[in-house]
């Protein structure tokens, strides 16, 4: 299937010479939730801004909803809704006016029933006549979401939607994002919360220093990550793994006092019980056991550091 967004060889050099993106290639599939992860300054917002038409690209091409974002900017932009990272809202306008303004700006005829639904879904209906400066930060964020949804976009960008948002609202947002996806909206979000990406995304991309360093299905990533490690603290140092244990993926730590067993949690038989029994048979005593599972955060950190 044709991707709904395709970014080809996009570079961005800001005035002053800083290169924020380096030959980025990325394809977003229609209807998916894509999470873009990366440390501060990696270029996430720059990439999103280019796709949305706020920042000019220095090199490369971008297609959105089948249209070139430069040549066919009207059609491309009309398909996109953007919730920016910064809480930039009007101050004195009412919630209702600012949201209907957005709909008009995107070339859609007035539709009060639709706007009402959006505001109700975001629990903003009661506040529709309130001027925006009187709203709390979390509410302002929701107003920005309402503005982005006001023109019924096919593609929604959420640039750190849950930064500074309380747990409850974050849950609400996740539910809302899933609901939008169910209706066929493609969602691209950036986040610094790995658990958010784990929870929400179908695919995950990692960007660092202006380069995409990994794009994969979340499930594939999780599978790689689905490995568990069991650390067995030995009573006495061990230099060699006994022959009857050689069939297991066991390693000895450098100081020879820890035996590390790596296994797949998906397997029926993890082999843990067997190993412990055989250790006993060999008279190897241990004083403690500790198991750990690598998380998205771990690969994230290792990848990003690997890119240093």
């Amino acid at each position: 299937m044709q991707p709904i967004i395709s970014v080809q060889n996009v570079s961005k050099i800001y005035k002053g010479g800083f290169q924020a993106l380096k030959h980025v290639d990325l394809e977003i599939k229609k209807g998916e939730i894509f999470a873009l992860l990366g440390p501060n300054g990696a270029g996430k917002t720059t990439l999103i801004s280019i796709i949305c038409g706020i920042v000019n690209l220095s090199e490369g091409t971008v297609n959105a909803a089948g249209f070139d974002i430069v040549k066919d900017y009207r059609a491309a932009r009309g398909a996109i809704g953007l919730v920016p990272q910064e809480l930039s809202t009007d101050a004195f306008e009412s919630v209702w006016n600012t949201v209907t303004f957005s709909r008009g700006l995107f070339g859609k005829p007035r539709n009060d029933a639709y706007i009402e639904k959006v505001l109700r879904d975001l629990s903003l209906w009661e506040k529709r006549h309130t001027s925006i400066r009187e709203l709390s930060g979390g509410m302002k964020r929701r107003v920005l979401i309402a503005k982005a949804l006001s023109h019924e976009p096919q593609i929604l960008f959420l640039d750190e939607p849950t930064a500074g948002v309380d747990v409850e609202l974050r849950r609400d947002m996740w539910a809302m994002v899933r609901e939008l996806r169910r209706k066929g909206v493609t969602i691209i979000l950036t986040t610094h919360y790995i658990e958010e990406a784990e929870e929400m995304a179908d695919r995950i991309g990692i960007i660092s220093k202006g380069e995409i360093i990994l794009v994969d299905d979340k499930s594939a990533l999780m599978e790689k990550l689905g490995q568990k490690q069991l650390a067995i603290q030995l009573q006495h140092p061990l230099t060699e793994i006994p022959a009857n244990l050689s069939q297991y993926a066991l390693t000895i730590s450098e100081d020879n006092v820890t035996l590390v067993y790596t296994f797949d949690t998906q397997n029926e038989e993890t082999g843990v019980a067997e190993i412990l029994r055989k250790l006993n048979e060999n008279g190897i005593e241990f004083k403690d056991l500790h198991s750990s599972q690598s998380s998205l955060e771990d690969i994230f950190v290792s990848l990003v550091h690997g890119n240093d």
Binding site: I54, R74, A76, L82, F101, G104, L105, F106, G107, P109
Partner: protein
């Protein structure tokens, strides 16, 4: 053409006018009334008529122009500067709108507001002095042309400015002096010959002179020249705006 977008921007900008009614409409009307009382009624009663026009009436076109220039500049420059300053400009930049549509919305609203204020001042002036308009259609044309031109100019200033101070700079330091010295309160042939020549480099002279002609049929400079200059400024501003949009100057990184 994205008419919904033009309408949305226009409505949004006009809503700002209604919300700040005192500042945007009442205050220019009040300050011009003060000019009428001081210069028109009090001082004017002791002044000779100029070119056969009573001094109180003579200053009306000048005062309207003065207000038109400052209002157009401040409305349009603020209208575009503020979203840049607050960051809300991202939405306009990400919307499926062309630059022409953005201009129609912002400059259209600013110019409409100026025309409204100008008309209001004309009505207010009627309370102080008797006057007639010989060429009402030309009068209105000058009013609209000037409002549009200076709203465009204001738009350019609003894009160029990167601080509130700079936003005020050109209106205060350039336009107000030019307007005062452009014959708002006197006819330029009341000046010594040397200063008459210098004055001809002041673009505002042509605007005021043409506008005054539409009222009283008398002018400092040829009407055709006035009209030509007005159109020239309009074209210059359009070229400036076109350049800004083409290069994305101060709008897009």
């Amino acid at each position: 053409m994205n008419f919904y977008a033009v309408k949305a921007i226009y409505k949004f900008e006009m809503a700002r006018t209604w919300r700040t009614l005192m500042q945007s409409i009442a205050s220019p009307v009040l300050s011009t009334s003060l000019y009428f009382i001081v210069f028109g009624t009090a001082i004017g009663s002791r002044m000779q008529s100029i070119n056969g026009v009573d001094y109180g009436a003579f200053i009306i076109p000048g005062l309207v122009m003065l207000t038109l220039l400052t209002q157009s500049l401040s409305n349009a420059s603020f209208g575009i500067y503020f979203p840049r300053f607050s960051g809300t400009i991202f939405e306009v930049l990400s919307a499926p709108v062309s630059y022409v549509e953005i201009l129609l919305g912002y400059v259209g609203a600013a110019a409409s507001k100026s025309v409204m204020v100008g008309m209001l001042i004309l009505v207010t002036a009627r309370c102080f002095v008797d006057y007639e308009i010989q060429h009402p259609v030309w009068m209105f044309a000058f009013l609209v042309f000037t409002s549009v031109t200076f709203s465009l100019f204001g738009f350019i200033i609003g894009i160029w400015a990167d601080s509130f101070e700079k936003l005020q700079l050109i209106p205060m330091m350039v336009i107000t002096p030019l307007a005062f010295l452009g014959g708002s309160f006197y006819s330029i042939d009341m000046l010594p010959p040397f200063w008459q020549t210098v004055t001809l480099f002041n673009p505002v002279v042509y605007l005021i002179s043409g506008f005054r002609w539409s009222f009283f049929g008398v002018a400092d400079v040829n009407v055709a020249l006035s009209l030509g200059m007005t159109v020239l400024f309009l074209v210059l501003c359009i070229v400036g705006v076109a350049w800004i949009f083409k290069t994305g100057y101060r709008l897009k990184d």
